[in-house]
């Protein structure tokens, strides 16, 4: 068998073993290991397994995952997430589907303190799903909103995907972070529109909540004052050079812990729960990455991603069509392997083409995140959907994937808007960094 045939067989085999219910990371590692062994040599396959596991665990770029997850868990245990949620609910609760919209807003707010979309989805599912279920929201809409809203965690800074992209492309991670803010707000609004459309089509899916006076709305805002302070400290400290990204995670976690202690909500029990949930959430996330890395190395050696990328790169199409073709690669590819691994494999090939066409590196980074967001909610490999299902065990996987579809449409619309108006991504970083540049 030629390597590309082996690659296709590997993909099909992986999808089939998925059906047995074996953990996704083990399936990817298993097929990757066997496939690499078949193409290169059994010894090389064994060596690959060990080196990829150790390499992923020791990755200096992914070391932020446990730290930011810890920050999020402390926020959850200190009741901060719930208060954020309450505020968003007061502002949107009276509209049909308002609570789902509040969930999207809460996801955006939590995304501002948490770098991982998985952790955002996990946390918001814990907080938001019981509230929505209590008020008779359709499970598909509720879980879909949490899984998709959680993906905003990687567009709103800080963001693990943007860090990986920045390392790959040597683009400034700080600029990438700032570039994510306006698109994240845009996507959040598109998600809200998507919910409104669902509610219009199926009024039963979203009951109407009570309405609050403006005084009550603003009274709730006061309750999240310290969260806004922590957010400003972490983001401001990053921009002002007080600390690096990794330190921002550690400092953020420490500050959230202090907020919890000051509010007397961080009991010893809550502290231990925050630690334990951080451990398994980040372990699961990193294992998913590690499995994807093994499988990704197998696909790399088959040269399939290169062949596809070079095919697209060689297209003599107008610029916008090339961008759409690249988007299609990520959308289809994201259905087969983990999007983060796909980013690592293809960005080095696509970047020269994209920049050669006159597109901005920072802008492309934001586009990549949007595509990655689509990847985490599309079957069969949709990490956020898995995470949400892990928390809402009574909702079926297919229901969550189906509930995510309106949000997928919103993401596609968002991408079209960004392709048409690139300034949405590049304007803010240019403004911020103009003032910070030295010697001029």
């Amino acid at each position: 068998m030629s390597p590309d045939v082996v690659g296709l067989v590997g993909i099909i085999l992986m999808l089939m073993i998925f059906l047995t219910g074996m953990p996704v990371t083990y399936v990817m590692a298993l097929v990757g290991w066997l496939g690499f062994s078949y193409i290169v040599s059994p010894e090389a396959g064994l060596q690959l397994l060990a080196r990829d596991m150790v390499g992923t665990f020791q990755s200096s770029t992914l070391v932020v995952v446990p730290l930011f997850t810890l920050m999020g868990q402390f926020a959850l245990q200190a009741g901060v997430s719930k208060r954020l949620y309450e505020v968003a609910h007061r502002f949107t609760g009276a509209m049909p589907g308002g609570l789902a919209m509040a969930t999207v807003l809460a996801c955006t707010g939590f995304g501002a303190v948490c770098g991982s979309s998985t952790a955002t989805a996990a946390t918001m599912a814990t907080v938001g799903l019981p509230e929505m279920s209590r008020r008779n929201y359709s499970p598909a809409l509720a879980t879909g909103a949490v899984a998709s809203g959680g993906s905003l965690g990687m567009l709103m800074p800080p963001s693990v995907v943007l860090i990986v992209y920045g390392v790959l492309t040597e683009a400034s991670i700080g600029r990438l972070f700032v570039a994510g803010i306006i698109p994240a707000l845009l996507i959040a609004h598109l998600f809200i529109v998507a919910i409104a459309v669902v509610c219009w089509l199926r009024p039963k899916a979203c009951p109407v909540g009570e309405s609050y006076s403006w005084a009550d709305k603003f009274a709730a805002l006061r309750e999240v004052g310290e969260v806004i302070l922590v957010f400003l400290l972490v983001l401001g400290g990053l921009v002002r050079g007080w600390f690096t990204e990794i330190e921002a995670g550690g400092v953020g976690a420490m500050l959230m812990l202090m907020v919890g202690l000051a509010r007397r909500q961080m009991t010893w029990l809550a502290f231990r729960k925050a630690l334990n949930d951080t451990l398994w959430t980040s372990c699961m996330t990193m294992m998913l990455v590690a499995g994807a890395v093994v499988f990704g190395h197998f696909l790399t050696i088959t040269r399939i991603p290169f062949a596809v990328a070079e095919l697209v790169a060689g297209l003599d199409w107008p610029a916008w069509a090339v961008i759409v073709a690249i988007g299609a690669v990520y959308l289809i590819g994201g259905c087969i392997i983990d999007a983060l691994a796909l980013v690592m494999l293809t960005v080095p090939i696509f970047l020269p083409i994209v920049t050669g066409l006159g597109f901005d590196t920072i802008w492309f980074g934001v586009i990549i995140v949007l595509l990655t967001q689509m990847g985490v909610i599309t079957p069969p490999v949709g990490i956020n959907v898995y995470v949400v299902q892990g928390i809402a065990r009574d909702v079926k996987l297919e229901a969550i994937f189906k509930g995510s579809m309106p949000f997928l449409v919103a993401l596609i619309v968002g991408m079209l808007i960004l392709v048409t108006f690139p300034l949405i991504a590049t304007w803010l970083p240019d403004q911020v960094y103009q003032h910070l540049a030295v010697g001029r």
Partner: protein
């Protein structure tokens, strides 16, 4: 006919990656397709620190990587990374190949060394405070990595260790006051945007040694005529790599000086001697550590210095 894999950590757009790709094409052309090489740039097959062991483990057949990412694994070749006072990339590349040919260190026995190269002089760059004499170094937080951190310490600065990808932001936000890096990185990593002064610290310039190695068994299995052709191409690529490093340095300097307010600060003869003297303990420390590991540390340092004296003068 044989097909091999080549893993390179340099991103595909980097000059050294383009050269490596051309090496693959040239080998295929001159062996009439008897040896073909599939090229995997940008860490897609093996990560930078795993490049060497990836070759011994068989994950890739050939790899380009750098000695300093795996401290302690290449004790003899680390001598090249010391602040010996490199004038240019030609000299650094000549020294690393000569040191290897002369000492044939055991640490490289497990592989077939195709060729080695090294980047141009690693110099001091600062953001807000120009450094014209040793005393100016005091209290400055300087980004560095591995052995260059020990140089910063010896010069009286405060080393802050971080990897290249984090450097831009750290400099831009003032997390650090300066950085030691080759002039090339001002353009390649855009560091020129966030530093204002270059101290022409050539007397203590360091370098980073890079290797291109091949799996031993795969090499031994090649027919003699193919081996001879590959060896010939390697010799040509040593010169090409060195020239590419120097060209990149020139472009980096031109870019740096084209930005407003940038200054290049020269050191006079007396100050140069002081800097070299200040950096000497780094060399002595290395020699002592090597003695402890059962090598003749002084001899290794002397070999590198002698080679450098010859090649620095050559240009």
């Amino acid at each position: 006919q044989q097909t091999l894999t080549y893993s390179n950590f340099f991103p595909p757009t980097h000059a050294q990656s383009v050269l490596a790709q051309q090496w693959c094409d040239e080998v295929a052309k001159r062996t009439d397709g008897k040896l073909r090489v599939q090229y995997f740039p940008g860490q897609t097959l093996t990560k930078a620190p795993q490049a060497f062991e990836g070759v011994t483990a068989g994950l890739s057949d050939i790899a380009m990587g750098c000695f300093s990412y795996t401290r302690g694994r290449f004790p003899v070749m680390e001598v090249v990374d010391l602040p010996l006072g490199y004038q240019n990339g030609q000299a650094a590349t000549a020294v690393i190949n000569e040191v290897y040919a002369q000492l044939k260190p055991k640490e490289l026995d497990g592989v077939e060394v195709l060729y080695l190269h090294a980047h141009g002089p690693g110099l001091l760059f600062t953001k807000d405070k120009p450094v014209a004499k040793l005393e100016d170094m005091k209290g400055l937080k300087i980004r560095s990595h591995g052995s260059s951190a020990r140089l910063v310490q010896a010069l009286g600065g405060t080393p802050v260790t971080m990897a290249m990808p984090e450097s831009y932001q750290a400099l831009s936000r003032g997390t650090v006051d300066g950085s030691v890096h080759p002039t090339e990185s001002n353009l390649g990593w855009k560091l020129g945007e966030v530093v204002s002064y270059r101290t022409a610290s050539f007397p203590v310039a360091y370098t980073t040694g890079f290797f291109v190695v091949m799996n031993k068994a795969k090499w031994d299995a090649l027919p003699e005529d193919v081996k001879a052709t590959v060896r010939q191409v390697n010799q040509e690529w040593i010169a090409k790599s060195a020239a590419a490093w120097d060209k990149a340095d020139e472009a980096g300097l031109e870019y740096f000086l084209s930005l407003p307010g940038r200054k290049d600060i020269a050191l006079d003869a007396a100050e140069s001697a002081r800097w070299a003297a200040a950096a000497k303990p780094v060399l002595d420390e290395y020699a002592k550590a090597m003695d402890e590991r059962g090598f003749d540390g002084k001899a290794i340092v002397s070999a590198a210095q002698a080679a450098l004296a010859k090649h620095n003068a050559a240009k």
